[in-house]
Amino acid sequence: MPAPPPATTGGGAPLLLETHAMSTPAPSPVVEMSGITIEFPGVRALDGVGLRLFPGEVHALMGENGAGKSTLIKALTGVYRYDAGTVTVDGVPQRFGTPAEAQGAGISTVYQEVNLCPNLTVTENIVLGREPRRRGSIDRRASRERARRVLGELHLDLDPGSVLGRHPIAVQQLVAIARAVDTDAKVLVLDEPTSSLDAGEVAELFRVVRALRDRGVAVLFVSHFLDQVYEISDRMTVLRNGRLVAEHRTAELSRLQLVQEMIGRELSTLEHLDREPSADTPTDAVPRLRARRLGRTGAIAPTDLDVHAGRVTGLAGLLGSGRTELTRLLFGADRATSGSLEVDGRPVRLRTPRAAIAEGIAFCSEDRKGEGVVGDLTVRDNVLLALQARRGWLRRIPRKQGDELVAKYMQALDVRPADPDALIRNLSGGNQQKVLLARWLLTEPRLLLLDEPTRGIDIGAKAQIQALVSQLAAEGMSVVFVSAELEEVLRISDRITVLRDHRAVADVPGSTATLDSVVDLIASGGDRA
């Protein structure tokens, strides 16, 4: 575990939980949001959330997927209107209608995907829209001087005349920050800035962030990497399910506590599953799927994994821990760059999804809309897609046989509406998920890879899907079950592989694993386990 973050610098150390008396009086926050509520149709994305940003502090916004982090950022930066609540900047109530207004008030945002113009030079990007003018035209010399000054302040050794797109993403991100500095931003929002950077680049980014912090800028930092959050932040706000959980000084919050707060400990209210995770070791000597040192550069470190017949293997870990990346390798959706795979003891190479399907493997992507449903087609065509693809285009599934199969699976999975001719994009998320499950069950797979099969779907459909997985395993299917919700993984899995920071850190039996023990593994990275 890295050292606790350095003491707050610049303008004293404000404390939320005034448990210790401080020698210096707490400064007022530069941004104070309170009671922010945002409703989307049918969903309350944020429910009375507050956030305080102090000058000269790096503030980490923490929470799992769907916790409301990006919604809150968008409320702050004028992208979304909020239905209730207040935002004050320097004590003045503000209501930003557009991102430009927020920027005008000194709030700059650097997004995960760099939103600069790659075809312009570094200088042009930094001064874009605020170019110094001389006699009606852009004063290029002054522009260059200004860019050089800003880059110099951040100690970036970069040719201001070079074209932005030629630089790696990391450098482009730093230029985006330099642009924010040029606007004299009081608040800098960094939304997942490190997700595509390597360790050296992250260090460079952090150096710049610290320099800004020391100049009194309030930095709001969003990242899924716990180590980085602990390294850079002075204060944290934790969100869960659109609600504020707590605000802490980073130094006073243990990782275990943080992970618990992010994941939540609501006891499951779902009905009991028919099947208990089995405690005994699998009897089959040869696992259905065996991965050895399977990995992909930049996505997942070499990992061992055994999946046995009739068993559910859970993958637990926070977002970005590599759980999706590992699953995709098992399906050939991405190609592995290292390691080997065996199916029933036979070495196989899964270079494409087709190859995996031929081995009896099926995969439900976490990105239901982008990688699952074919929105323009009917439920019927969506259900039959994988089976039809395997048969090839010439051997069309006969109309009658197709109708029967579709009707059978739609009924078994309780897809609503029970209309095979409905366009799938008109179905709710839960029903779309059931259609995708039907698509794969039709191919009679022996190994089912489910990546977040219950994300974003209502509680009833969720329980149905969990029960189905349980039943399929009881019938002999092997399942790899990925979910951000630990309770779910714990309830369903016979064995749990814990991932963290793109590597597997532990492998525990489901029967003895508890929420605490798994949370502890995620937080500690297996060091203490």
Binding site: I357, V374, W393, L394
Partner: protein, 392 residues
């Protein structure tokens, strides 16, 4: 997402939200207009066992564009586009005429057969090239086919040595001017290809797989669809249709003009597809719509010419009518006119066809039409004299 509100059930009645219906209405209106303005428009007479008259001319002159548009429909359904069909058409004509011209016995059927076979083979090779660039190399279709669009006419010129080649070969000329059962051979050939495509795509699973690839390529790939070979195949096929069209148009005038043959036919073919309601964003397609689109374009040309509108104004007039058709098809206007059924997010009016494929919610077709679309093609087609087909 809320529980689904609407169920787009297959509707037997006329579905006013379908662009195909509006395309048909536009064609009908055009024909009606002709009937009023020029009562002789629909007069069809039989001479030597062959049909003559404006309706037959429209069919004949629409044939090459329609043929290519059929191939283009499949390409567009996979989110692609092929700008090189005009060039392929020119090459096909140049190759066939050069062979006939250079042969010792130009009028023999064997020479014609060799010429036709070679031209089609060259067309297939060019299609393989386009498909390779798009599906294997991964170049954007508009750019990949632009290569051949630009270079193709140069190639054709090289073949013909820059000359307009004229040659007489009865067997070959039949392709352009012959008759089968009283109908122009061009029309019969096109109809044949259309029927084969309709059967191939709807009797097999090819149509559904093409739509899946065009709607969501990644989902299709993960479902095990051979996206690459499907994409490749449609480019080969559209080039084949262009090669056939090249034989027909050049045979019609008994000359191969590398510069002018099939000029802008790619744009007419794309226009026909779009008027027919197939979205440039890919996915659902309608062969019926494409047939209607090609007939509308040709009927327009024929109408203006029979009305004696000066050639300069013909294009303007066409533009006005086409805009009217698009307006009729625009979701917003359809929503106002007809009963609503789909949750129309992101309504885009296709006045200017979307050049990029991003918008995945502009979906003109409903399952009902798509299912029973192709074979109902070529209905009460239309009318007029004068030769003003593809070689404009």
């Amino acid at each position: 997402m809320p529980e689904t509100p609407t169920t787009p059930r297959a509707r037997r009645m006329v579905d006013l939200s379908s662009p195909v219906v509006w395309a048909a209405a536009a064609l009908l209106a055009l024909l009606l207009f002709n009937a009023v303005v020029n009562p002789g428009f629909f007069a069809v007479r039989i001479q030597d066992g062959h049909l003559f008259g404006s309706p037959v001319d429209v069919l004949k002159n629409a044939a090459p564009t329609l043929l290519i548009a059929v191939g283009m429909t499949l390409v567009i359904a996979t989110r692609g586009i092929d700008l090189s069909v005009g060039a392929v058409l020119a090459i096909s004509g140049a190759v066939s005429f050069t062979i006939i011209d250079g042969s010792s016995d130009p009028s023999s059927p064997a020479t014609a057969a060799i010429a036709i076979g070679t031209a089609l083979a060259v067309g297939l090779v060019l299609g393989v090239w386009n498909g390779f660039l798009v599906s294997v190399v991964g170049i954007q279709p508009i750019i990949a086919t632009l290569v051949l669009m630009t270079a193709g006419r140069g190639l054709a010129m090289l073949v013909t040595d820059g000359q307009i080649i004229t040659a007489e070969s009865p067997a070959f000329t039949w392709l352009g001017r012959g008759y089968v059962l009283g109908l122009p051979a061009q029309v019969v050939l096109t109809l044949l290809v259309l029927l084969v495509v309709a059967a191939l795509t709807r009797r097999t699973a090819l149509g559904t797989l093409i739509e899946a690839v065009g709607t969501n390529p990644e989902a299709a790939r993960l479902a095990g669809v051979r996206s690459r070979s499907i994409t490749w195949t449609v480019y080969v096929f559209v080039a084949f249709t262009a090669a056939v069209a090249g034989l027909m148009t050049n045979a019609n005038v008994s000359a191969a003009d590398a510069n002018r043959a099939g000029l802008f036919i790619e744009l007419d073919a794309i226009l026909a597809v779009v008027i027919g309601g197939t979205s440039l964003a890919g996915g659902r397609y309608s062969l019926t719509g494409t047939v209607l689109g090609a007939l509308i374009l040709q009927a327009l040309t024929t109408t203006t010419l029979t009305m004696g509108v000066p050639d300069e104004y013909v294009r303007l007039f066409k533009a006005v009518v086409i805009i009217a058709v698009f307006l009729l098809q625009a979701p917003r206007i359809r929503a106002a006119l007809g009963r609503r059924r789909r949750g129309a997010r992101g309504v885009t009016s296709p006045d200017v066809p979307p050049t990029d494929a991003a918008a995945d919610d502009v979906r003109p077709l409903t399952p009902a039409q798509a299912a029973n679309s192709p074979t109902t093609a070529m209905p009460d087609a239309a009318p007029s004299p004068t030769d003003q087909g593809v070689l404009r």
